[in-house]
Amino acid sequence: MRSRIREIVVKELRQALREPRMRALLFFPPVLQLVIFGFAVNLDVNNARIAWFDGDRTPASRELRERFEGSGYFTVLAMPRRDREVRDLLDHGDVQAVVQILPGFARDVDRGRASVQVLVDGTNSNTASLIASYANQIVTSFSQRATQARLDRKLGTSVPTNILPVNTASRVWFNPELRSRTYFVPGVIVNIVMLVTVMLTAMAIVREKEIGTMEQLMVTPIRPVELIIGKTVPFAGIGVVNMIMITLAALLVFQIPFRGSALLLLASTLLFLLTTLGLGLFISTVSHTQQQAMMSTFFLFLPALMLSGFAFPIQNMPAPVQWLTYLIPARYFMEIVRGIFLKGTGFAVLWPAMLALAVLGTVILSLSVMRFHKRLD
């Protein structure tokens, strides 16, 4: 039995590595996704383009502008004087936000209740909320300084800042610079392992149906379980290789932190592979052509990706959709991968997610094996 499985594994690897199209399928998606999510997709806010509408024109308002410019987050592109200009700038997308200083700003600063208006272009809600929160931070720290200066003047001495009544500064853990690549690159492991292994498994089996070799295999004494193991093990291997490739790229090229256990990552990858190979096998039992298999793979891959938490945080989804995500293996693996990379989370915390993968994997795999017969009808 073992030799028959080895025979299939060897053949499968030979075919996969020999065919240029297959070889491309093995290495192109990981590299492409790493480039996109590591370099191109940048949700960070650096040098946001803003307009500055100064209705006060005092030393205090000028100082605030210098703070904005000096922060590194903002570049002041325009200094409109009329409301109309402000609207035009936002409408045309020339600037991403407009800071409006109302007349009487300097006086209000002296009284300790200064405020500014920040109009943000909300077309991209993610960027908008980041801009709003950065602007808010700068204004808050500016008014704190002003308050302190006022107190100093009144008392004639220097008062330590910590007596100030409110301090709303927040700190971000695990990803302090809020770099999107730190968030995305580990998630690429989930996407790629899912896409490549589901697709390759489904295609490898359906191709044999299409060219007629499956019929030939079915008259050999090979047992269905041997055929299934022989047909999935090579792609599990390729999935693990992909995982290692992306991890190395994350560490060496993108300098993403890796705080957890590599062994735990490997173990979780293997559990995740149970679900993806099972799914690939399932797709192969319901598809007659490679094209159908390809379509079914994408049909299932896209929603799984959306619901995995890769790009959209699950806790922001409506409750029924959140329940749905519990059925998506990628969701658990995403949690595990990010936990291991960014937080150094260990088995004590991750075991429920790993258990979920094991259960889902066993269910999907057994259903597919039950559907897989050595007969044509």
């Binding site: 028959r4 025979e7 030979r14 060219i211 070799t213 050999t220 044509l376």
Partner: protein
Amino acid sequence: MPENAVEVRGLVKRFGDFHAVDDVSFEVSRGEIFGFLGPNGAGKSTTIRILCGLLSPTAGEARVGGYDVATEAEQVKENIGYMSQKFSLYDDLAVEENIDFFSGVYGVRREIRETRKEYVLKMAGLENRRGDMTRLLAGGWKQRLALGCAILHEPPILFLDEPTSGVDPIARRTFWDLIYQLAEAGNTVFVSTHYMDEAEYCHRIALMYRGRIVALGAPAELKRSLNLPSMEDVFISRIEEEERRTA
């Protein structure tokens, strides 16, 4: 092994409402070359697939090598070699890699794998092309290699489904020489074709039309009983009679 290599009684295969095989009965004795003739869609491939344990019969009984194809499909598979109608080797493997792969999955004993491989390479005339990609071979060589791969495990009963379709006349002739060699070595060969001239090469034939057997017997005997000069005439007369009967 029983006297008859294949025994079929009242075999029916329905796909939905359509009777692809409609109450078929016949026997094939050991060492015989049994031809299965008929136009496309007659039900030849469906019958062969049932006999190989690939499709389950809707009704009736079929035994191959003494085993029931419906309930003992795995034992049946140990006794047969099958060459499907479609070319069914891996185009993207070398000649030798195909042979090694099928040796492995058929569970050919390690000690004899090399001997079997050389035998197949010689039989197919591919000794000097063992490293070539299978896709580069011309039709006749491909078919002989496929036959070779189907008999690596030395099965006593062979099912060949239109093995010579799309192959040039000389390659067809060579292929039939191989069939004769196999039969002389004591194997039973069950071969389907839609070439009338090939009917003459068979010991006995069954003429299949619309899922039914409309003539069964040795070619010479069939020609004599109907007093017709060629198998083609036999075929036409039988089909015309069948058309009249069902009209």
